[in-house]
């Protein structure tokens, strides 16, 4: 076959260019650590990586949501523990006040302490997390309960200011859960921590009546009415704590699920888009050898000519 000079020399340059282009691509993959630079490099893998980025972003957000939810429920747990302490103290005071040997003055003193405990319970209803009341449903800008007082400043009634709505967060992709506990379920909801119309528990009312029985020196009512009510209240608060524990447990489970899922997605994403350095280094080395060989052969071909042998 006849070979022209343009075939001999001209064909070399595109081949050099091709080898150089492939070398540069491998270099970019190594330098950036990313195997797929453009969607057209591997359209299918690029599409999968886009969706995985969305999943990763969602999971990271879910984990942030869980941090928020866990902090909220932790605060709720603290509030309920305080309520338990208060009710337990009331219970102790009731037992003491049931002692028939106590005088009216002594019962009045106990009533004063009960009054303070009642104020403390009101404070429990006003507890906030980052400025938001935790027991008032979604009416978070004000204390969950407000008190009506008599001329002496004693609480005579406590009114719930919140609502019966849940606050929900997405904890796993596509799965949301309510993470708040209501102070009262009178405006809706299935459980009220401090006042529950379905369970017949009203800690404020119990405390007010206990105080009033004490002021009236009515030890029989203290023993007959207040003590059983306080026992029910304690049981109810324990149920509340169990609910909070359940929420925390679900959140912890979701956190584990999200973390496992995130780890898997990151691993898949890494396998999908990241450069296999060993493989890339071998390819770069092979291309370098091929390029050097092509240059060497090319330069030999270009140097040889009949001109060299003519006088």
């Amino acid at each position: 076959m006849r070979i022209s000079d343009s075939q001999r020399y001209g064909g070399l340059v595109p081949r050099y260019q091709d080898l150089l282009a492939r070398q540069i691509k491998v270099q970019q993959q190594i330098a950036s650590g990313i195997r797929i630079q453009k969607a057209s490099d591997a359209p299918g893998d690029a599409a999968r990586s886009h969706l995985m980025h969305t999943t990763r972003s969602t999971l990271e957000q879910n984990l942030r949501n869980l941090d928020e939810g866990q902090a909220w429920t932790e605060q709720t747990n603290n509030a309920l523990n305080q309520a338990v302490s208060i009710v337990q103290r009331m219970d102790e005071l009731s037992v003491r006040a049931g002692d028939v040997t106590l005088s009216a003055a002594e019962r009045a003193n106990i009533a004063q302490e009960v009054d303070q405990l009642l104020e403390g319970m009101l404070d429990v209803g006003a507890q906030t997390y980052r400025g938001r009341t935790i027991l008032s449903g979604t009416q978070t800008g004000q204390p969950a309960f407000t008190a009506t007082r008599d001329a002496q400043g004693r609480i005579t009634a406590v009114t719930y200011q919140g609502n019966g709505e849940d606050r929900s967060l997405e904890v796993e992709p596509g799965r949301a859960m309510a993470y708040n506990l209501l102070g009262s379920n009178e405006a809706g909801g299935d459980f009220g921590a401090l006042r529950d119309t379905a369970a017949g528990v009203d800690i404020f009312d119990t405390a007010i009546r206990l105080r009033d029985f004490l002021l009236a020196n009515d030890s029989a009512s203290v023993t007959g009415i207040s003590l059983p009510e306080l026992k029910d209240a304690l049981t109810h608060l324990t149920t509340g704590l169990a609910r909070v524990g359940g929420l925390q447990s679900r959140m912890n489970q979701s956190e584990l699920t999200d973390e496992d899922h995130l780890e898997l997605v990151q691993k898949q994403l890494s396998q999908l888009i990241e450069t296999d350095l060993a493989e890339a280094a071998v390819e770069a080395s092979e291309l370098d050898v091929a390029y050097r060989a092509a240059l060497q052969v090319g330069s030999r071909i270009m140097q040889t000519s009949l001109l060299d042998y003519l006088r």
Partner: protein, 459 residues
């Protein structure tokens, strides 16, 4: 018997012939790197003999013609491949640009902005009362609008760039057709005498080849050596006349149309067909961006309008605008984050609506009718389409380029100059020239013998 003068004539003819042959060889050597050059060869033959009974005497050598060594049958194949190369080169560049515009392979800018937007709503579910979360959501929403605006601006820029390139390509094509018509005239004139206008034909073939990169061409050579060129029957060159293309901006589509005599031309391949396909690709991408933006606006606004702002007032729209170019935040809401509705009730801590909107991320809303994709999936599909299209265009371009190069090599094997061969020819002709000169010297000596040294006895 031949006379001494006749012998001198044989030698002289040899000198002339081999001088011409060396001239042709020199021409080949000096044009070995000239684009489009076809090697030439002096066709030699023995000159017409003399009949002197009882013998027929040869009269030496002569140049019959200087011919181009070219397989013209390959030219049409190369032109066809050039047209496809031109078409797919434009397509590959356009799709590559579109792909780059809409984000890289692993983390598209709009996809990223969408993810951040959904997360902004999620953050609002954690703190619907917090102005910080509300302001952050506004910033993320503005970012989405900015990404859409950036996409539209880049598409507009690409469209403008394509229009400018079409205009330049039209001028380039007109330059070629005009030059081809002029060369037609010169070739016809030069070849009237029977000579071959080899170099002029080379120049014309090169121009036709360059023209074929821009458009598919149908080429017919007339008996007088002129080329007629048409595109699907629309004549660009006829003899010594060329017909100029014009680039006309279509006000409706904002695309530069290639017209001939006021009518749009339909191309099958070539860069002009690539431009037509590129315009369609830009329009298609724009339509998909518009659909994404319109769906986002309508889905978010529909839900947002069912809620209440932080003050407990019924909410209005979240986004303003109708498409990718006009999407933006509702003006009132943009300056007052408290107007964002996070809840379907008037309570400030309600977050059900924020959660509902955040979970739009997983809701299939595109296309209308029977939706099959989420917004993220729709954007993903757009990038995937462009990526697949770009890959196909690049691979197809590579395929046609390889075929073109292969055919061009086959042509070059016949038409290209080989320096070793030319040097060898040069030596051959040089020796033949020297031999002819020696013949003349010998005849001269013969004549000297006859004129000066014969018949001198007795002088």
């Amino acid at each position: 018997m031949l006379t001494a003068n006749a012998l001198l004539e044989v030698g002289t003819r040899g000198l002339k012939t081999f001088q011409i042959a060396m001239g042709v060889t020199s021409h080949n050597i000096t044009n070995s790197n000239t684009e489009g050059y076809t090697r030439q060869r002096a066709e030699l033959s023995s000159s017409y003999p003399i009949f002197l009974q009882p013998h027929i005497f040869g009269t030496g050598v002569q140049v019959d013609a200087i011919v181009r060594l070219r397989e013209s049958v390959l030219d049409a194949t190369i032109r066809g491949e050039m047209s496809e190369v031109g078409r797919w080169d434009v397509n590959a560049q356009t799709l590559g640009t579109l792909e780059t515009m809409l984000g890289n392979a692993t983390n598209g800018s709009l996809g990223e902005a969408l993810n951040a937007f959904w997360n902004g709503w999620q953050d609002l579910t954690s703190g619907p009362e917090e102005m910080g979360a509300r302001q952050a959501l506004l910033d993320l929403s503005q970012r989405i609008a900015d990404v859409f605006h950036g996409g539209v601006r880049r598409l507009d820029d690409l469209n403008t760039g394509l229009n400018t390139t079409v205009t330049a390509a039209v001028a380039e094509a007109n330059g070629y057709t005009q030059s081809i018509a002029e060369l037609n005239r010169e070739i016809a004139r030069a070849e009237l005498s029977g000579a071959n206008a080899n170099d002029l034909r080379d120049r014309r073939d090169l121009l036709v080849e360059k023209l074929s990169r821009l458009t598919d061409v149908h080429v017919v050579e007339q008996p007088n050596g002129m080329l007629d060129i048409d595109v699907n029957g629309d004549v660009l060159v006829s003899g010594v006349n060329s017909f100029a293309l014009s680039g006309v901006l279509n006000g409706g589509t904002n695309h530069m149309e290639v017209q001939l005599g006021g009518s749009p031309l339909a191309f099958a391949s070539g860069a002009f067909q690539g431009f037509t396909e590129s315009f369609a690709e830009v329009d298609g991408t724009r339509a998909q961006l518009d659909q994404l933006a319109a769906t986002l606006i309508s889905e978010v606004n529909t839900r947002h309008a069912t809620g209440f702002d932080l003050q407990g007032n019924p909410a209005g729209a979240f986004f303003a605008g109708t498409d990718a170019a006009t999407i933006g935040l509702d003006p009132a809401l943009a300056s007052n984050p408290a107007l964002i509705a996070a809840s379907t009730t008037a309570a400030p801590g309600g977050n059900d609506l924020a959660l509902q909107i955040a979970q739009l991320r997983d809701l299939k809303v595109i296309p209308g009718g029977t939706p099959t994709m989420t917004l993220n999936e729709a954007f993903n599909a757009l990038v995937l389409d462009l990526g697949s299209g770009g890959k196909r265009a690049t691979e197809t371009l590579g395929d046609f380029e390889r075929i073109r190069a292969s055919v061009a090599e086959r042509r070059s094997a016949v038409s290209g100059v080989n320096m070793d061969e030319e040097l060898s020819n040069l030596l051959t002709f040089q020796r033949a020239y020297e031999a002819s000169a020696r013949l003349i010297t010998t005849v001269d000596e013969m004549m000297d013998m006859i004129i000066n040294r014969m018949g001198i006895v007795g002088r």
